[in-house]
């Protein structure tokens, strides 16, 4: 029997059952007092000007790294996206072969998480402000390239063929026919990437690449919770303002939302505002680069790696690969199920209460805000280290991202059907389920499939803390400067994420098929 469409998004939440069975066994409760102190400190963040000064400085660095990394990823991604567009090559030279080649090549930088890029670059060029910027720009650039080429290749070709048939030169025809329809999707996606860049920059900081993340980790490690909360509240304010700004601009310029039910036509787009915003960005970025002392030339200052011991490769091959990969896959599945299934379940649970949604919004914002390794460290106050704890931390973070998206979709879906069901006597939860979820179910799950793919990449982040999967081995190999092990680990990660990407693509196509 096939479950009804609105119930589909709830199915992954079944993962809560085994969780409820396993977690009590892992509870050691040694740190209840600490957790209490942590929670209490939320209401009494430190107001010490010295602390605040250093936090604001760190925040500035984080935001600056995010901005620069984001801008560079767009600069890299848009041309690479054009290069990997089948349509473009077909129109210009008659064959799509080069596009396929570029696509394959770009899959590698994309498959490796920005944190790994950061830690690797740190090994190669030393501690430089430019490292974090580049670490964000490389995988993000490859992601932007993929989205640009997918957007391009999905555009209707009619206008282009018309122009070409009328004898317009190919470059001019491409620009005229594809430029304007590409822009809204690109800008909407670009805004989303900026939000991602802020989260990534914070995370990179946690691992010592500069900025607020490092202060968050240090205050947590030294149990200075009031200072920790000052930093978290500051970061929350910045994150929420950025999200509000991006979504306001998206609405103002009539760009498509990410989980849109219908694609709105970009009418009345204010091109002048767009150009002005872009123009304002140039001096801003240069100023930020200068303030952070980002020196691109420092990246060229490579130092050869230390020599590898003989027999190192042999030893590297003998790592427990099967266990490492198995743990990574299990971690991904658990975290993805928690995040995808948790969001609609929580929304349904709080449906009867008007304040419920606001509470959820706050919890989800905190989920997005907290880098997963920090959540994992907090959980270790109460639980023994285990794969489940890592999954919980990773799931919570992604729940914050998916939940916000689902709520946006639900609120944009229009109240008619829900109202009709309510006036027909249905309860608040049923009305929400059948009135709003049913239309969204497929596109939400499709986005969930994409998110699972992102989660697979992110396992490295909690693996480093919770001692699970490829991520934990990565940390050991990095600190032992075992570059042979590192190379194999990276290859394993790349292979795994490419497989995952393929799977999630298939799932998405199947879900979105009309």
């Amino acid at each position: 029997m096939k479950p009804a469409a609105p119930l589909l998004p709830l199915l992954p939440a079944l993962v809560l059952l085994p969780m409820a069975l396993v977690l009590p066994g892992l509870l050691h409760g040694g740190g209840w007092e600490l957790l209490g102190a942590f929670a209490a400190a939320a209401l009494h963040p430190s107001g010490d000007p010295l602390v605040l000064g250093s936090l604001v400085g760190g925040l500035g660095t984080t935001v600056g790294m995010a901005l620069l990394g984001w801008a560079m990823s767009l600069l890299l991604g848009v041309p690479l996206g054009l290069l990997s567009s089948r349509l473009l090559w077909r129109s210009l030279v008659g064959t799509a072969l080069p596009a396929e080649l570029v696509r394959r090549l770009l899959a590698v930088p994309r498959s490796i998480h920005e944190l790994i890029w950061g830690l690797l670059l740190l090994q190669l060029v030393g501690q430089q402000p430019a490292v974090a910027v580049l670490a964000i720009a490389i995988p993000f650039g490859a992601l932007v390239a993929r989205v640009v080429s997918d957007l391009l290749d999905a555009l209707p070709e009619r206008n282009l063929q018309g122009l070409l048939a009328a004898g317009t030169p190919a470059p001019a025809a491409l620009l005229t026919a594809l430029g304007p329809p590409l822009l809204p999707g690109l800008i909407s996606y670009g805004g989303y990437r900026l939000e991602c860049a802020l989260r990534s920059a914070t995370l990179l900081g946690v691992f010592g690449l500069g900025g607020l993340g490092n202060e968050l980790l240090l205050t947590l490690q030294s149990l200075q919770f009031r200072e920790l909360w000052s930093g978290l509240w500051l970061l929350l304010a910045v994150m929420l303002s950025l999200e509000a700004l991006v979504s306001a601009l998206r609405r103002r310029w009539s760009m498509p939302a990410r989980l849109a039910l219908e694609r709105r036509q970009p009418v009345g787009r204010s091109s002048r505002e767009l150009v002005l915003a872009a123009a304002a960005l140039v001096p801003l970025l240069l100023g930020v680069g200068r303030a952070l002392a980002v020196d691109p030339a420092a990246l060229l200052h490579w130092e050869s790696l230390p020599p590898l011991p003989t027999g190192g490769w042999q030893a590297a091959l003998q790592l427990p690969w099967l266990t490492l990969v198995g743990e990574t896959v299990l971690l991904t599945t658990l975290a993805a199920a928690l995040a995808v299934g948790g969001a609609p379940l929580l929304l349904l649970l709080v449906a009867p209460w008007p304040w419920g949604r606001w509470l959820l919004r706050l919890v989800w914002a905190l989920g997005r805000l907290w880098p997963p390794p920090l959540t994992a460290l907090l959980l270790l106050f109460l639980f023994k280290p285990s794969l489940w704890i890592a999954a919980l931390a990773l799931g919570f973070h992604n729940l914050g991202i998916l939940g916000r998206l689902l709520l946006e979709g639900v609120e944009a879906a229009g109240p008619e059907r829900e109202d009709a069901l309510r006036s027909g006597g249905s309860g608040a939860r049923l009305a929400l389920l059948y009135g709003r979820f049913s239309g969204l179910a497929r596109s939400y799950l499709a986005y969930g499939a994409y998110r699972a793919d992102v989660i697979l990449r992110e396992t490295v982040v909690v693996g480093l803390v919770a001692g699970t999967g490829l991520g934990s081995q990565l940390r050991e190999s990095l600190s032992a400067f075992a570059f042979d092990q590192l190379a194999l680990l990276l290859a394993a990660y790349a292979l795994l994420t490419l497989l995952g990407e393929d799977l999630s693509d298939r799932a998405r196509r199947a879900l979105l098929r009309p």
Binding site: E33, Q127, A279, V282, L286, R290, G467, S479, A480
Partner: protein, 307 residues
């Protein structure tokens, strides 16, 4: 040209002009720095950054006064990053731990071992436990077997006194890291963090460096009612100053010897130097030789941190 396009053009022009203005001055300081080479010193981040900033700020000032060269402290956020920065030549003089020092010299064979503290000749690790854990002080190394099945945390992955040697002594007692509760030890990140986590009960036991443990008892960060020492390890060589091999070429003949002499000359009789030595937990610095760290290298290889 319609008004809106003119506006756009003006804005673009302005932004480009502003961009050049912002960019140009950034080139000047770099040129000025080239004539006066700054001696860049650093240390592995084994304690809270406030403490490190204070200590190495003082060290930079003292060295600058004695050697008449500008000295700058560059904070590091990670043990491995300090080793890498030394390899890439971004640091000239670093206060390394036993393990990181060996790693750094293996990656940069020209490096010179300059000095260690009087306490580093025979440095010790302390195993600590939460008083409510039921763990009791043990007499012999075999007593460490009590730690099987307990929640246990090391300091940083690359710490000599907070990970390498404790893991070595645990192995001698027959305790593998996978035998701790949850199948793995924690890595708190620093000695201060280990003390705080064990004291709170989040971990039942941990291993820290003796000098930080004593300092924490002394300044009240560690409360005897909540956390206690259960075993003190035998001594082993630990922290030391390592300098780049090319300092003579960059600062003039004999500079490395002058640098070593300056560090060895610090005495508690000088008020400034007394504060520095106090923060280091030492009476004075003494000469160190690479040979003393052979044992650390060997243990590092056994545990897989040196290859």
């Amino acid at each position: 040209m319609p008004a809106r396009e003119r506006w756009t053009a003006v804005a673009l022009g302005l932004s480009l002009a502003l961009g050049t203005v912002v960019l140009t001055p950034s080139l000047r300081p770099a040129a000025a720095q080239a004539s006066r080479p700054v001696l860049r010193i650093s240390a592995i981040p084994d304690q809270n950054p406030e403490k490190l900033n204070r200590l190495y700020g003082l060290v930079a000032g003292e060295l600058s006064r004695q050697l008449s060269v500008p000295v700058k402290y560059v904070p590091m956020t990670d043990y491995a990053a300090a080793v890498t920065a030394f390899r890439t030549g971004d640091l000239d003089l670093v206060w390394f731990g036993g393990l990181t020092g060996v790693q750094a010299r293996l990656q940069k064979p020209s490096a010179r071992v300059l000095a260690q503290r009087d306490i580093d000749v025979s440095f010790r690790s302390i195993f600590i436990a939460n008083t409510r854990s039921g763990l009791q002080p043990v007499r012999t190394i075999d007593g460490l077997r009590e730690l099987r099945g307990r929640r246990f945390t090391f300091g940083s992955e690359n710490s000599t006194s907070g990970r390498l040697m404790p893991q070595y002594f645990l192995a001698q007692a027959g305790v593998k890291p996978s035998q701790f509760a949850g199948g793995a030890p924690g890595f708190s990140g620093s000695h201060d963090a280990t003390i705080a986590l064990v004291q709170s009960g989040a971990y039942e036991a941990g291993a820290v460096n003796e000098q930080v443990w004593r300092a924490s008892l002394h300044n009240g960060k560690a409360s005897r009612a909540k956390v206690m020492a259960i075993w003190t390890s035998p001594g082993y060589p630990d922290y030391h100053w390592i300098a780049q091999g090319n300092l003579d070429a960059r600062y003039g003949q004999g500079f490395t010897a002058k640098l070593q002499k300056a560090i060895l000359s610090w005495r508690p009789s000088d008020p400034e130097q007394k504060v520095i030595l106090g923060l280091f937990g030492a009476q004075q610095f003494i000469k160190a030789t690479p040979g003393e760290y052979k044992r650390i290298e060997q243990v590092g290889r056994e545990i897989g941190k040196i290859r």
